[in-house]
């Protein structure tokens, strides 16, 4: 395998992994606060269509990303209001959010299919990335560097900051946190909003980073894979980074197999397409065999909080 091909694969893997990583980082923070939002896929689709429409009409990619994040927050607030203020069932509400996001994005995207936008260009000037090796480091768009920076930021926030400590306390023992005087509902609202913003940005990655167009359901279950990755990473940001890149590799293996021309190229294309989903199942099985995985879950995950009783 040539150096060129290796580099091309690395660049593709990084691209494919980025939206999953961003969405999963958001969900990790949400779950750390004790809330399980299964609506990631729906919020991503809302972010994807928002990002696409803004990029299409204004041509400004950064504005598109910003508004996609805002749209993600707005969508997540539906979930927040139902589960936090009205203590509705989190599993059912998350599913409803995904159904809503799928329908809403399809409705809003009507008439936008087959219209092109331009992809977000590399952050650094092209001179820095002329040599293939440098391309691996400097050849990406801002979204990729954002995702990597957020791994550090989320890790630092949860481990080192005071606010992160409060958030974890709320997720581990909401009653104690409440009795010390922290607003459990307020902290969870903030976490859900952060998760919404990250899912919105992750959705915008699809038209702005991967395929420069809008297609219904274009996130293709990546939001669900992000939810699974949080479990896989046992709620640790750096494991999340490794997991997301592993999935990116699985998703782009088809290209590698075709290019190599070996026995792998005989595998039907449909099996390659099914691979990320099957890999998710395998990964969930592997993680459950390891002991520490489930014990690391936030103790209050998915439990509604009502201080009045």
């Amino acid at each position: 395998m040539s150096l060129e091909l290796t580099i091309a694969i690395i660049v593709t893997v990084v691209g494919a992994s980025t939206p999953i990583l961003i969405a999963a980082l958001g969900e990790l923070v949400v779950e750390k606060s004790g809330v399980l939002n299964l609506g990631v896929e729906g919020m991503m689709l809302v972010g994807a269509i928002t990002g696409f429409v803004v990029a299409f009409t204004t041509g400004n990619h950064y504005l598109a990303i910003l508004l996609a994040a805002a749209a993600g927050v707005a969508t997540s607030m539906i979930f927040g209001f139902l589960t936090l203020s009205l203590s509705a069932n989190q599993t059912a509400t998350g599913l409803a959010l995904t159904i809503f996001g799928t329908g809403f994005s399809a409705l809003a995207g009507q008439g936008y299919s087959a219209r092109p936008v331009t992809l977000l260009g590399p952050l650094f000037p092209a001179e820095l990335a002329t040599h293939p090796i440098w391309r691996v480091l400097f050849g990406y768009s801002a979204l990729v560097y954002f995702s990597l920076a957020m791994v550090f930021a989320v890790w630092w926030f949860l481990k080192k900051s005071r606010a992160g400590l409060i958030l974890r306390a709320v997720g581990e023992n909401d009653l104690s946190a409440h009795s010390i005087g922290y607003s459990v509902i307020g902290v969870r609202y903030a976490a859900v909003a952060f998760g919404g913003a990250m899912a919105g940005i992750a959705g915008a990655c699809f038209p702005l980073l991967l395929t420069p167009q809008w297609a219904e359901r274009m996130t293709a279950g990546r939001g669900w894979i992000a939810v699974a990755l949080v479990v896989f990473a046992s709620w640790k940001p750096f494991r999340l980074l490794a997991g997301a890149y592993l999935f990116g590799l699985v998703m782009t293996m088809e290209l590698y197999a075709k290019a190599s021309g070996g026995p792998l190229s005989a595998i039907p294309a449909e099996l390659w397409s099914a691979m990320p989903y099957l890999a998710t199942v395998v990964v969930l099985v592997l993680i459950s065999i390891r002991r520490d995985a489930s014990t690391n879950a936030p103790a209050c995950l998915g439990r509604p909080f009502l201080p009045s009783n």
């Binding site: 959010l97 009507q110 699974a228 099914a274 989903y277 459950s288």
Partner: protein, 359 residues
């Protein structure tokens, strides 16, 4: 004046059955307002989506045909959700039922008989149940979350359809279209009302719901499902096995989804095509909740959801509204229903603020 939530001594039955109705009515009102605000013909959309399918007698047959799979899958899901088993991969189990059934129909093409349809039905149920057995095995043996596994398997099953109709099952006379040949006549569901599209699946759906209602309310099995879901500790104390309940919940919901898949492929589709996954398995989640996880309620919820599907198609041709508006209305219905849930367990009390001692 302030409002305060007060826990009810026991869940309100009025609210339990009143909130789904309120959710549908609210969806019409708020839906009309929101759709008008974002530049659509909101009142027209609500009229076409919720009322035209009922007033236009010509559309009633479509309602039956669309409601049948939703009711069958919704009944299965309502049993599973009662037991707190979150099977959200019904779409995949529906697909596997739809794939298992024609397997025999294609192999025995022209050599079938009266036994073909019953055999396909058994194959459909078995296909759906077998696919649901994977999350059941992983959950009971390894404690793997069934939400994620059942959903991931759905995405994989869609690819299996694409593969089968592209290569091994492809109709050689199909002018290159990726689809199977039309099933032989003995492998097609009979029409039960001549001159309409109403097939045998419609009465089957009603029978399934009635049988499920009887079993859930009158048998030990039904009691076990309800107790394990509502009070797992008490259930364990009473000798009900949690693992057995998980298995039963997934096998029943998967088997019913598979049955719906068989009825669809042998009924409206008459062959396997790439467009076979029509999201019935996902919409049935809303049906199960809207029907309050009660098989009789699921019949009504299935019909309501069928109205929105048929109405969505009408609105597309009459007022040019995108078909995806249906999904938005359906999701709104579920949002309102979930929001109303709090009224089942709590009552809103008006309290006059007490004068604080310091003042």
């Amino acid at each position: 004046m302030q409002f305060r939530l007060e826990k009810r001594p026991e869940p309100s039955r009025l609210m339990l059955y009143g909130t789904p109705v309120a959710a549908v009515v609210l969806t019409m009102f708020i839906g009309a307002i929101i759709f008008s605000l974002i530049g659509y013909d909101g009142i027209g959309a609500v009229r076409e989506i919720f009322f035209t399918p009922l007033t236009n007698a010509f559309k009633w047959q479509d309602l039956g045909v669309k409601a049948a799979p939703l009711i069958i899958i919704g009944v299965g899901l309502s049993i599973a959700y009662r037991a707190n088993v979150w099977n959200i991969g019904a779409e995949g189990q529906y697909i596997m039922g739809g794939l298992a059934a024609p397997w025999g129909a294609l192999a025995s093409h022209g050599a079938g008989g009266w036994w073909t349809l019953p055999a396909m039905m058994i194959a459909g149920v078995a296909g759906g149940a077998a696919y649901a057995a994977i999350p059941a095995l992983l959950r009971t043996r390894l404690n793997v979350n069934e939400i994620l596994t059942s959903l991931m398997l759905t995405y994989a099953s869609v690819q299996l359809i694409y593969y089968l109709v592209r290569a091994p099952w492809k109709d050689p006379m199909g002018m290159g279209f990726p689809q199977t040949r039309r099933f032989a006549s003995e492998a097609l569901l009979p029409n039960i009302i001549p001159g309409t599209i109403v097939h045998a699946g419609v009465p089957i759906a009603i029978i399934v719901a009635l049988v499920a209602w009887f079993i859930m309310t009158r048998s030990v099995f039904g009691y076990q499902m309800r107790v394990v879901g509502a009070a797992p500790h008490a259930a364990r104390y009473g000798g009900f096995s949690e693992n057995k309940t998980i298995w039963l919940a997934l096998l029943v919901s998967g088997g019913l989804a598979g049955l719906a898949g068989m009825l669809e492929v042998a009924g409206p589709f008459q062959r396997m095509v790439p467009g076979f996954p029509t999201n019935y398995g996902f919409t049935a989640i809303i049906v199960a909740f809207l029907g309050r996880l009660n098989p009789l309620g699921v019949i009504f919820a299935g019909i309501v959801m069928a109205i929105t599907f048929v109405g969505g198609e009408i609105a597309q041709t009459t007022i040019g509204l995108s078909n995806s508006a249906t999904g938005v209305f359906q999701a709104m219905m579920l949002f309102f229903l979930l929001a109303g849930d709090i009224l089942v367990r709590y009552r809103v009390r008006r309290v006059t603020p007490q004068v604080e001692a310091r003042a």
